[in-house]
Symmetry: C2
Subunit: 327 residues, 2 copies
């Protein structure tokens, strides 16, 4: 049984999904849908590229559409709309807005009889599952999530919007000493500043007031205020040469107490080290698309998250094979 | 809604479950069932202790029975038998015999209309889930599981069976250099000897031939042959003082390649560091009992494993709470 997949949106994430689909023998890429002029878009693997406006015509030829757009403006509109035509997967990652996004997508998917999985990827996604497992396996404890070292697109974009900035790349770095304390099971109380620091590489316009740019960065509310931020001005050449990749990663820790007098300490640690954030995220979305397909086969409809998918649904192997091979 | 739980078998694991149940407000311990004379058994928390032979009378008073026995002789008989009376959870951990155990328990549970979850705990259990997630999120890659540092009961028992040995404790230790290679994403090929080494503390009878005991240990097929094993003879006093705890842990790594030319490397790492193996395992079994209860409520029956449980089923929180708080 081949699962027929479409990719809606063809940026870094869409390309990651395209690459990952070749590593899943039970999946087939039907087409890539772009809002740009398809004539200007060449897919990496030779898969056909269609205009977004024609997607609906593929209603019966695509089992799961993977929606690859930004969480700020794309996905809040796109996922719900596409869920009325297809079963879908997205990677909506604005944590605070998940309940609202869920409600909208759920209504659309239910009405059309489709399954929509939102907020897939690694955070939200795999890290969310790890936080849940941490809480249920060690109910009396503390959870700590660290991100990085890695490039934050949101923070990079925020720096790029400052007048006088031509290009910027922001690395989020976990504070090693704090990671160590958590790993040792010491359950420290950590402020945002004690958990992460920020490192910005910035290309400034010639003649720009560098000190003013620096101040605007390090005092920016929500993004940099409250963190130790280092700003390094570099040339566009160095930016292109040294900072074109998109590594990322992080850790989820759960430390808990067990025993009659709660004196024993148990620590669960999950870590990711990614050369390519979009390629890994794309690979995760493919496995989740398989899970969505299983739910569809079971006759389900509506919005779901990674919390709702039995691990077995993500694998192409049968239950008996999984038990024999991986249990 | 309170989930009414029973504990069948009251060794280290049963005590771990007893302690953990107090950390789950939606669960209640109805009773402990022992094959010893209940008059000789005092529970840690004051929970009532009943003879195993009376368990069946609790058919309507227990939602999930957690079966705490050994995998060698207890569980192959007990779990299937109890599944005809209760929905059950066990921690059957003889990997090779899982298909056979599954089939027997499945038949019993289906006939009675109960749900039975077998092979819960951390390996098999959480580590199994991590191996599955590793394979599905990085289909082109390598999985490595390391155990320890920790006490292996099976290996300790094997040493104790050698003539002249009064007591023994075997620690399984991951080979640090190999763990480092795997963590760096180098995908080394590792023989059993390169993955783990073994350290035995042994109390010998007075006048025993220590060199003969040492040789019998390090050449023992299946258990020690093929590993670097260190044997240290100590007094019973030192054994009692230094080696009475049951720490354990380990790592599951998945390293995979992504991208158009498979040149990017992504690593997933899950680690456990446990002061008390039975207390943590007991805590895991409690969360799995909640999952079993959910399956029962959905009208399911038959044998299941951790692969079949959506993460959300393990939590006392509602789906909306999980999405708002942990996603």
């Amino acid at each position: 049984m081949i699962i027929r997949v479409g990719i809606f949106g063809y940026g870094n994430l869409g390309k990651g999904v395209e690459c990952a689909l070749r590593q899943n023998a039970d999946m087939e890429l039907v087409g890539i849908f772009t809002r740009r002029d398809p004539k200007t878009v060449q897919s990496m693997t030779g898969a056909p590229v269609y205009p977004a406006s024609e997607a609906e015509a593929f209603r019966d030829r695509i089992d799961v559409m993977i929606v690859c757009g930004g969480s700020a403006t794309d996905l809040p509109v796109l996922t719900g709309k596409l869920a009325s035509v297809f079963s879908v997967v997205d990677s909506f990652d604005t944590h605070d807005d998940i309940p609202e996004h869920f409600a909208a997508v759920d209504a659309s998917a239910k009405e059309a009889g489709h399954v929509a999985l939102i907020s897939g990827g690694w955070d939200p996604g795999i890290f969310s599952i790890m936080r849940l497992y941490g809480e249920v396996f060690l109910p009396d404890g503390q959870t700590d999530t660290f991100w990085g070292p890695g490039v934050s697109q949101g923070h990079s974009d925020a720096v790029r919007r400052i007048p006088g900035v031509l290009d910027a790349r922001q690395y989020t770095l976990p504070v090693d000493a704090s990671v160590r304390q958590v790993r040792e099971g010491r359950m420290p109380e950590l402020t945002p500043r004690l958990k992460h620091r920020r490192l910005c590489y910035v290309v400034a316009e010639e003649g720009a007031d560098l000190e003013k740019i620096r101040t605007q960065i390090v005092t920016m509310p929500h993004y940099f205020e409250g963190y130790d931020t280092q700003v390094v001005f570099i040339s566009q050449e160095e930016m292109n040469r040294e900072h074109s990749r998109l590594p990322h990663g992080g850790f989820v820790f759960r430390t808990g107490r067990t025993g009659l007098r709660f004196t024993q300490r148990e620590t669960m640690e999950f870590g990711l080290h990614l050369d390519s954030n979009p390629e890994f995220t794309g690979s995760v979305l493919c496995a989740l698309a398989r899970g969505v397909y299983r739910l569809v086969q079971r006759g389900e409809s509506g919005c779901r998250t990674v919390f709702d998918l039995p691990p077995a649904y993500l694998s192409p192997l049968s239950d008996a094979e999984l038990r024999a091979k991986l249990l």
